[in-house]
Subunit: 587 residues, 2 copies
């Protein structure tokens, strides 16, 4: 297996060096334009995800400043836009909510440590080059988890949309509570929330084609469609300010302290290091989910320009970014899908676009927070609901059901547990189910009794083809590497086949699909060989791959094998049964 | 995959029906002779393993009666001899010792429940046909575990051999305690123990060849060698009785109640069902280890006669046998290796041999216990030490080190943890390490860039062979099924190869070694396809296996693939680059 020549250590550990020396004026212009667009998008998103995570609005803004600077230095994607994101905010709320009620200082402490621990874990995994761990989050499990998270997120925002108190964290709890409190719905809040939701949905669906029909250019219609959510929120805020909605009981963002984030360090708390233990698993899952989300979007954007990202460098960049997020406000971040695509399409050429976005957000945090005062929470809830609509992918369930029942089972289990027990239970069960399925499949390899297609040198499954077989020679093809998981299965299988065929004197194992034989399988082969020998049957091998044969020879193969090793299965049959009568199986 | 026609349900669930109707007089004679030999062997073994498990001697005898009757009815091996065994007795002592001190009624309660729970678990696994679970105990882990257990067992018997108190359960603890108490060694005890050990070892090594040299027939020498341990113990007992060794401080078996086992039921204890929780994992491990030991010996003996055993029926038989062991004395049992081989070689033809052995043991328990009174514990310790010598297989460590470093790592981890932490920690860590290694290997499949061997239609790895390649066509062969564990690895790999080869316009994936594509890998293929398409590159497949192609078509393959599906890789290259100049890589 060859790979391109690796870059120098400096370029590996400080990816900024890859682009900063070639940075040109036109790069700066492109990055700057993209940064303006992303800043406009990131302000309401930051506030909304802070609300979702149960944190004050400024935490969302702060999490969109320093982490972006860190990512620009350490990241390898030219378009990834880092900041608070929907699923990680939900996971943050679930983990912190299990320790303390929302709004308490203990809750903020837990969120701070979630950012710090998930950052440290990502950084460690990145330094150890263990990005491979994320591979064990199978796609069906991820789909099931993200879809269920989207539904949970939408349900969690109902309280803001209706203006009623709801504190459940599972779908059944939220629905039952919602049923009992829906009578207390606050009319003006619902009006603002549902109205914003309707306008946002309409703009999302109809604005671009509508403007095109009015004769706007494609680019202008595109920009207008992207700016629409910000404009809609600005309009809602203006209306609420004019009508003094807060005095009518509509909950608004309120006073957001103006200024830049200060360095924060909440201390270890009463429990010392041991007190962090309940946060370790959530932080690990947060690191993995954040990484998978980030690296997926980063890879697909990089591929469009025929570039590459370095997954381990991404882990380090996200890890350092989350440590930066912790000390500058305390709120976990990751690369967001929607805003990264916008960043890419707006023309971002290098990670410097993230630097400029950070400057934009810093400007908002320093000077524009008074403008956010009258922004109603119901409008932010509507923003979140529209954003998570794209997460819920019901057709994926049907698609995976058709393709593979076992993959569907893992997906459905993940989604069901996420909705009814919690995000960690769902994700954990999904990963375990995927691994169990892989092991189960591995433990029951496909094995075929093979015979020769008359007139050729090809050997095929006797059950699928009309083939010739010889009574005293049994040909078996194993379609899987031999490992401890299936070694005993092969023992059982050979024993059963031989017991059912009293005429057999030679067994030939066709090894063309065997890429590896581990130590357990080697011993099973020896066991099979011994048992066959005691019954007066010889064991032969055919079509053994080079690396497998090298290893078998190191294990002294010629000495213990009663039969021979043949280069081709055809040669084996010709040698063992040169003139035996062939019987042909029906097709 | 075909298997022999399954027997009727009655034969499946009551395997006794398979042989009882054909039972002949000559079978009875052969079984009876074997039963006498096994009874002679089982009496001292039962007492010794009861001592190892920290149970009174009669518990060992009782565990060799009813379980044998149950196994004869439900078992499928004609030669397996069930009863107390070394490793399971060690595991029993470790699990019960963690709950209560040896000799207390709480200790006996724990052992009773270990037998009952491991029996229930085996029975359940057998009914659910989950014998496959035992496959996940890889051979290296099992070797490491059994060797370490052998050392631990030998170390645990030092106290009986030296006549000093030692209560540790790990090797370091036993050695440190032994170092401090060795000064208190009881001379007469050591004399008896070391003497018995020396004579047993000498008889084991030299008796058979010695008698042969004296002109004995092979059969007579064989029988004498097998009877020797019993004769030696009988002689030691007689000497101790004559010298009244017990009055000189030598610990002897003492008064063993005469009679048959009564039905016992210790109740749930104060904790109710919840009180059994700490015993669940040990009972599960006991069930799995007992099953693996039993099924290994059963299979190898069956194969010698070209017979088969049914692993799931074996699980049920061992499960029911352990439940019977619990209610008739309370001590876990399994099929023992040494005595099963003796049973086989003494001529046992059917499981009825076990029935006769049970009658023999019942006779001993009812009438001969007074003869056991003066048997010294030090002599039993010597018996155990000689028996476990065969368990310690140090050459296996060297063999597996040479064959596979990663398998060796799992083996060494298991052995080290078993010796220093405990049997459950060792076994658990070993299983997890094996699974992790399997997943890791699965996650990094071998992928080769392939080119054509000039003048043939064969395509081989460009790094191993002198082959022709075409600049604008990249041929890749993946030597592994595509699953979630390696899907993203393939994405990265293709991205890296394409980024390194600007001339590439077509990528052909040779799928000859791909036996399965799961839902995650399907999406990864689609992602690869999309990313390549955005870079202006087409993706093709070649040599896709039938079942894999069926599934891809169900997932709408022709619609989303930008390239074509070729029957052979050769055809792909001929179609995509009919007249391109070939460059030949150096060999």
């Amino acid at each position: 297996m060859s790979a391109p020549i690796p870059p120098s250590p400096w370029h590996t550990w400080l990816p900024m060096l890859r682009w900063v020396r070639h940075y040109r004026r036109d790069h700066a212009t492109a990055d700057g334009v993209a940064a303006v667009v992303v800043t406009l998008m990131l302000v309401p998103q930051s506030l909304a995800y802070a609300q979702l995570a149960g944190m004050p609005p400024e935490a969302g803004l702060y999490a969109s400043i320093l982490p972006l600077v860190v990512y620009a230095v350490l990241g390898t994607s030219s378009a990834l836009a880092v900041g608070p994101a929907a699923v990680t905010s939900l996971m943050t709320a679930a983990a912190a909510g299990a320790l303390a009620p929302e709004g308490t200082s203990a809750y903020g402490w837990a969120v701070w440590w979630l950012a710090a621990l998930s950052g440290a874990i990502s950084l460690l995994l990145g330094v150890l080059r263990l990005g491979v761990l994320a591979h064990f989050l199978s796609h069906p499990v991820l789909h099931g988890f993200v879809s269920a998270s989207g539904i949970l997120i939408a349900a969690s925002q109902l309280k803001h949309l209706l203006g009623v108190p709801l504190s459940g964290t599972t779908l059944p709890a939220l629905l039952v509570q919602g049923w009992h409190t829906v009578g207390g719905t606050h009319g003006p809040t619902l009006l603002i929330g549902a109205g914003t939701l309707a306008v946002l949905l309409a703009a999302r669906r109809g604005l671009r084609p509508g403007l095109r029909r009015l004769g706007w250019s494609a680019t202008a219609a595109d920009v207008a469609a992207k700016a629409a959510p910000v404009a809609i929120l600005a309009a809602v805020t203006a209306v609420c300010a004019a009508a003094d909605a807060a005095s009518h009981g509509v909950r608004v963002v309120g006073a957001v302290p103006a200024g830049l984030p200060a360095f924060t360090w909440p201390g270890l708390g009463d429990g010392g290091w041991a007190g962090l233990e309940p946060l370790l698993l959530p932080a690990f899952l947060l690191a993995i989910v954040g990484f998978v989300e980030s690296v997926s979007v980063g890879q697909s954007l990089a591929a469009r320009r025929r570039e590459r990202i370095d997954p381990d460098a991404e882990l380090r960049a996200l890890g350092a970014g989350n440590l930066a997020a912790a000390v500058s406000g305390g709120f976990p971040v990751t690369g967001g899908f929607a805003r990264s695509v916008v960043n890419f399409e707006a023309g971002a050429r290098t990670p410097a676009a993230g630097l400029y976005t950070a400057v934009g957000l810093a400007g908002v945090a320093a000077f524009l927070t008074p403008a956010l005062h009258h922004l109603p929470q119901a409008a932010l809830a509507a923003t979140i609901m529209v954003a998570v609509l794209t997460l819920v992918d019901l057709p994926a369930f049907a698609r995976i059901w058709r393709y593979s029942r076992s993959d569907f089972a893992a997906m459905a289990l993940t989604a069901a547990l996420t909705l009814t027990v919690g995000v960690e239970a769902g994700l954990g069960a999904g990963v375990l189910a995927s691994i169990a399925l892989l092991l189960y499949r591995n433990s029951r390899p496909h094995i075929a009794v093979v015979g020769r297609i008359p007139g050729t040198e090809h050997f095929r499954n006797v059950e699928r083809h009309a083939v010739e077989t010889v009574p005293h020679v049994l040909g078996l093809r194993v379609d899987e590497s031999l490992t401890f998981a299936n070694a005993r299965f092969l023992e059982d299988y050979v024993a059963a086949q031989v017991a059912a065929r009293p005429a057999v004197r030679d067994v030939v194992l066709q090894c063309s699909a065997i890429n590896e034989i581990d130590a357990s399988a080697l011993e099973s082969l020896q066991t099979i060989q011994e048992r066959l020998a005691q019954a007066g049957i010889r064991l032969h091998l055919s079509e053994v791959k080079g690396p497998v044969m090298d290893r078998l020879q190191r294990a002294g193969l010629p000495a213990w094998l009663s039969g021979q090793v043949f280069l081709s299965h055809h040669q084996a049959i010709e040698t063992l049964a040169p003139s035996s009568p062939r019987s042909v199986t029906p097709d």
